[in-house]
Chain length 266, copies 4
């Protein structure tokens, strides 16, 4: 289980979520309080939008607190929209290819959670990825697979429906293995314009998710765990939600996975 944070609004330095606050993502890498695993030392990553439609991507396998490159990048890069992640592996190797966020074209994606028994249906999942997207399948995580499945289900056209279908299909596979919990998922993703987040679990323990408008910095933070100690003004997003953020607006809808009527033949 991992910790993540995202920002949308006026351009701010990446350090605003990564390293400056008392309970920043980098300090959460050492001492998460709302996560299942306290230590998130199996890599980190950040995707940010700035001069181009495609996000920049910096990921590595070290603990986030010990990487001077990350510290420097966080102090130097300003962005109106970024995603940042610290990883606690649930089994797959510590490899840059398995670090979040993932990026394809102008889309970026990061995830905290798991699908029950994933290793038992990883091969079927890989077979279900749309062929033109398969070159982007570089690692072995369920997270990267979820992103590629969602892209294949039409993430660009209908983010809600695409994510509902992708999660629905994976949950169906998890159920077939009988490994509970079938789904625990808090994900954030963006096309560089709009920021989306989903909070969902097949049981009563959806990973936490919060957002807060910052009047001082003119933007909104969306986080798996508040990044300050006082935790004031953070609003919890309820389990079973799909949230859509622009710089000015928030829209939160109920979220349910959609089961595929019929599986495509791999």
């Amino acid at each position: 289980m991992c910790r993540w944070g995202a920002w949308i609004g006026a351009p701010v330095f990446l350090e605003e979520l990564l390293s400056r606050p008392e309970h920043s993502l980098i300090s959460q890498a050492r001492h998460a309080t709302e996560a299942k695993t306290e230590i998130n030392a199996d890599g980190f990553g950040v995707a940010w939008y700035d001069h181009r439609p495609e996000p920049g991507l910096y990921r590595d396998v070290f603990p986030a607190w010990s990487d001077p490159n990350l510290t420097s990048i966080a102090q130097q890069i300003k962005s109106p929209l970024y995603l940042a992640h610290v990883r606690a592996s649930t089994g797959t190797a510590t490899s840059r290819n398995n670090c979040h966020p993932f990026a394809v074209g102008c889309w970026s994606f990061m995830h905290n959670g798991q699908f029950g028994g994933f290793e038992q249906f990883r091969q079927q999942t890989d077979a279900r990825i749309l062929p033109p997207l398969y070159p982007h399948r570089k690692g072995a995580t369920d997270s990267e697979a979820l992103f590629l499945l969602a892209l294949g289900e039409g993430l660009e056209q209908d983010p809600y429906l695409a994510m509902a279908r992708a999660i629905g299909w994976l949950e169906e596979q998890a159920e077939a293995t009988g490994t509970t919990p079938y789904t625990r998922c808090t994900a954030a993703f963006s096309d560089g314009e709009t920021l989306y987040a989903v909070r969902y679990a097949s049981d009563n323990f959806a990973p936490s998710l919060y957002h807060r408008w910052c009047d001082h910095r003119k933007g909104r933070a969306i986080v798996s765990e508040p990044v300050d100690v006082t935790q004031s003004n953070w609003k919890a997003i309820p389990p079973g939600s799909f949230a859509t953020f622009t710089a000015e607006t928030v829209k939160i809808l109920p979220f349910e996975p959609v089961r595929p009527v019929q599986r495509r033949v791999a």
Copy 2:
């Protein structure tokens, strides 16, 4: 294209192929002479047999010449059978999961070569891997896939036939993409008892392969390129060969890929 060497016989230090000779693998990483690419700086690895049936495995993504861990390990570890490899990526990422040798159970495998247009049929290849072997599919290379396909075709029961079928199937896919050369392949693999090597290409340019008995050290080296400058006494293994080495014996058979009569359904 990569450079590799293997040893079978009396136990010797890994450095006998890796670092001691004038034209050792580590020096070939900087200046290969018979390879398509002169620099092999995209990682390295060594698999050795010693106290256990399973090989030890040390792989990393640095240039072989700059890793003090490799130098130390090569000076310290003695083995009667080992495989060592320096990598020049043909496109896939520099990641430990993509470094050779690969190991499954007591088998180890390394490879120099390529299958034409592999990225276009990587998804089909992944789907063809036998499900119980899929947890070992950790990277994205054609080399790891070839190894897992061969294991699925019965590498333990009939190494020749299994390798002929695995290469045959991959060559068939390459032909379907129309990307020449379809196959260039020099591979070595072992179960810890016997050392096998195959040299094959679909055209007239099979990557080089040599072997030499060392009376002084009581063993045999099998290499993609001689590890000394004088190159005396090295015997070239002809293109289209399947070689079987024990400590005392050498058997070289003509090798042809075998096309699958019918594809298994993934």
Copy 3:
């Protein structure tokens, strides 16, 4: 503050301390119980003696639990005398050059502890290292400096006195900075024949140190923290001790740093 373990006796796999026991060093990297810092994720290392007088050395900057190379090496290498270490940085960079153990010639050394205000007298310390040893000064830690100072004070001729002088000199510098605690130190070192350990602090909080004879494996483990959960039969070595271990014998003497009568001119 770090965690470490050493072995002397009949050859055993490195995994006997590193990964097999319930509370092994690798599990202590995640959850140390007697250390000041719970997480030791800033690198690891192992030095082992086998076929040569010089130790083998494998060190890297990842968390010990996420390095498959370490797992493989620990399962494959047998040694009658080895030192293993997981690191929690007290400030210096996460770099291989700063990972323990350190090795010079046939000597190896590892350390848990600190000298108060070291960064303020690092330059003087570097100047005090004996010139022929300066090529071995590759990092910036107090630990590497302590080792090189002790070698310069005659570690080969009189390990007790050399270590007492090296610690004494560093403690004197720490006192001059006024930064308490001046010295906290638990170190282990070896020439490949005998294993030495020192436990000392300038205050009442010397880092913990234990040893235990294992009748089953015919050897002795010396550890900063017991590697099993029951912790039976571990003997604590008292603060202010210098211990000398051979395969069969244990000698524990009271230890006091020795202040240099006069400083050598750098």
Copy 4:
């Protein structure tokens, strides 16, 4: 011997020197043509100025061509003044701390060259670094030492004189060892406003240095080797030169090291 490039002028993407041109720094990492060593695979780094007085710093130990983080950063970050470097180690370890550029406060520095017999007088060099600067001595290279010595000689107040004194002192030490060539040096450095470069050797083989105004991009590139194949319009800076660049101006003065009248006591 290494390859480097710097830019001053209108903001451009880092890729303008790093990866876009045919003979970019990243391609020079594989195939330098004017360097003593053809392969520069022992790390890379970039220092850029953007939102803050202090430069951003991204350095790593991989070959520049195999790091997707570098590729992404080069495509995303725009800067009016940056320094980029690919490294071929002349002996010191491949460690991030030994990668160029180095940065202290708002200054950045990178270097191609060597001082004869440096390892023999590294300890004296370390002792000569001004104590308040010693915390920045993190590696073991002559390059980092040259930078810190120059800062101690007043780089901020008089860049020419400070560099002349620092090189002069190091050259004096090299002469004492009798190891020729005493000095080969092409360095670039900046305070974020002005870009300086020095080309100097104690013999007739000063490493190459060029500059070119780019009318299209409104800025000037300063490089150890032209980054395009046609090499048109590049002006060679003569050996024994100290160059000062602003966005609009170029000033080239003859350069001679200055010997210290009297050594400070370490």
